[in-house]
């Protein structure tokens, strides 16, 4: 295991940011810390980097106890949400910073900087100042800067959070490909479940300072540990006291044994998808299906329908009933 976090607790005044967190992050993988804003995931990342300190608990990086090491001795690369570029240095100087601090020979620094700028596709911008770059380019530069020192772990704090949707998507794919090339143990924080599911090998779901579940994207999606994980990783609705995904509900116009009876109160068409709101004795249920499916079914507003969870659908007992909690 590359990073071992044991019993980490952190308080800011009365607010408990992290409550006895235990996580092991595997070597060479891309791990996402996923959770809602204010859930403690950034705090955990900053504690790993040494930018914040834990009240109790310990951090081991590659077997070395790093709990009381200052950030400059942990050999971690850190990428900040707002880039934290060195404004008074050129792109090449920014990337060279860590190497110059380590007093590497000049030719080695030049060569490594060239290599890294090539890796992040910024070779032609080497002599620009950071304020002449776009947000996406700045973040790639920050990434090259963090990689320059050959860190044991690379930590990214909401790396694409400040970018617009299109650039985000591009950088996300690019980060995945980069990781496949470089293979450095990488941890990134995100509140975007789509980003985590698409990019990460492993996801740690953190909510209210606690780890809710650790697993691969498939595991989290197919076997959510609880209603929070299920509702955070996609749209959910409550059918007969259980949480289920809206597209996993079957609709029939005739009674079916064990099905829940209801009336369609609203039909909302969004692109290829249709969302039905069905009033049942247990409250409103949202059902998603394709337009074609709805046409074949022949239901409309006012129709009496019978609902049941599709065979093989993942359902979780709904302790806290949250109607279509949308992550993101």
């Amino acid at each position: 295991m590359s990073i071992d976090i044991t019993g980490v607790t952190k308080r800011f005044g009365d607010f408990v940011a992290l409550d006895d967190v235990n996580v092991s992050i595997p070597t060479g993988q891309l791990t996402a810390l996923l959770g809602p804003s204010g859930g403690g995931k950034s705090t955990l990342l900053r504690i790993i980097a040494g930018l914040d300190s834990a009240d109790t608990g310990s951090i081991r990086i590659e077997g070395t106890d790093a709990t009381s090491l200052p950030p400059q001795k942990r050999n971690v690369g850190f990428v900040f949400q707002h880039y934290a570029v060195f404004k008074h240095m050129s792109v090449a100087k920014n990337v060279a910073f860590g190497l110059e601090i380590r007093k590497r020979p000049k030719h080695e620094v030049t060569q490594r900087v060239e290599e890294l700028l090539g890796l992040v596709h910024l070779s032609q911008f080497a002599h620009r100042m950071p304020n002449q770059l776009s947000g996406g380019q700045r973040q790639r530069m920050a990434l090259a800067r963090a990689l320059a020192v050959e860190p044991t772990v690379l930590l990214l704090d909401e790396p694409f959070g400040a970018l617009d949707a299109k650039v985000r998507k591009e950088l996300r794919d690019w980060l995945r490909r980069l990781h496949d090339e470089v293979h450095v143990t990488t941890v990134f924080v995100t509140h975007d479940q789509e980003e985590a599911l698409e990019v990460a090998d492993e996801i740690v779901v953190i909510n209210e300072g606690r780890v809710e579940q650790i697993g691969s994207p498939e595991q989290l999606y197919d076997e959510p540990a609880n209603d929070f994980v299920m509702s955070f990783l996609g749209e959910v609705t409550t059918l007969d006291g259980r949480i289920v995904r809206p597209h996993d509900i079957e609709v029939e116009l005739a009674p079916v044994p064990g099905a829940v009876e209801g009336t369609v109160t609203r039909v909302l068409r969004v692109g290829f998808e249709v969302k039905l709101t069905v009033a049942t004795a247990g409250g409103d249920v949202t059902v998603a299906m394709t337009r074609t499916h709805l046409r074949g079914l022949g239901a409309d507003e006012g129709s009496r329908v019978w609902l049941y969870a599709a065979k093989g659908a993942v359902t979780v007992a709904g302790t806290a009933v949250k109607e279509t909690a949308v992550a993101g």
Partner: protein, 269 residues
């Protein structure tokens, strides 16, 4: 912007220009005219006077020391105020502005109370140790440092607050220790604020009169600074020399303003 009628616009301009002209430009201009009334000979003769030379040198020395001290403490205190939380921070911040609001004469008097060698708090013991403050150069430096204290700090603090500590954290995570982070990241980021603060502090230090007047015994060639000499010459009816020295002081101020004007645009690139 609100549309203003043409006559109003001209009236406003007239008021602004008139105000500055009668208060600043005309008096300073007259000073220059009087200095050069008989050609450059007045200025040259005044500068040849050893007492004048000594006064100018003393002002230079005192101002230099005061600015260096204010620079070192200014940067340190600014970092302390912006980057760290500690009890009494607000009180310290308020105290730093005190020299701006208190009359320089009061500053001089309070220094005399503490450091005079007869009955001051520290004075006698310092005097026994061979350090004389009041009526000597250290007193002049202290008084000047005191009055120029807030200038460097008030320039740096807003800049430090604005840039935040992101870049410093990034530097730390890249392996830089506190000293390297300061020299390579923090200082270059606040460079222009520091320069601007130093220029302002220099102008203030060179021109200080009130506080210096109280702590100096005004002995020509020893503790008489340029500003004190202007007053003395003027009162002794050596107006020509007074004007010449005053003109030199104005030149220093103008030089400071020019430096600031030249530097400012480049800092906003």
């Amino acid at each position: 912007m609100v549309e203003v009628s043409t006559p109003t616009k001209w009236a406003l301009r007239l008021v602004a220009v008139g105000y500055v002209f009668f208060l600043v430009a005309w008096p300073t201009g007259l000073l220059a005219t009087r200095t050069f009334e008989g050609g450059v000979s007045n200025l040259v003769e005044t500068l040849a006077d050893p007492d004048v030379q000594s006064a100018l040198a003393l002002t230079g020395r005192v101002a230099l020391l005061a600015v260096v001290i204010n620079l070192l403490f200014g940067v340190t205190i600014s970092l302390l105020l912006v980057r760290y939380e500690f009890p009494g921070k607000r009180a310290l911040s308020a105290l730093i502005d005190l020299p701006l609001s208190v009359s320089p004469v009061v500053v001089g008097l309070s220094l005399v109370l503490v450091y005079n060698s007869r009955d001051g708090w520290f004075g006698p013991s310092l005097s026994d140790a061979g350090v004389d403050v009041i009526f000597h150069t250290p007193g002049l430096v202290m008084a000047t440092t005191f009055v120029a204290l807030p200038l460097v700090i008030r320039e740096i603090v807003p800049v430090l607050t604005e840039i935040g500590d992101d870049q410093e954290q990034a530097a730390r995570s890249l392996g830089a220790n506190a000293r390297q982070t300061f020299w390579r990241i923090t200082l270059p980021s606040i460079k222009w604020a520091v320069v601007y603060g130093v220029v302002l502090a220099t102008a203030r230090s060179v021109g200080e009169f009130g506080a210096v007047k109280v702590v100096s015994n005004n002995i020509s060639g020893q503790t008489q600074t340029a500003t004190l000499m202007v007053e003395e010459k003027y009162q002794n009816f050596a107006q020509d020399q007074a004007y010449a020295i005053a003109f030199l002081l104005v030149l220093v101020s103008i030089a400071c303003l020019v430096i600031v004007a030249v530097l400012r645009p480049s800092s906003e690139k």
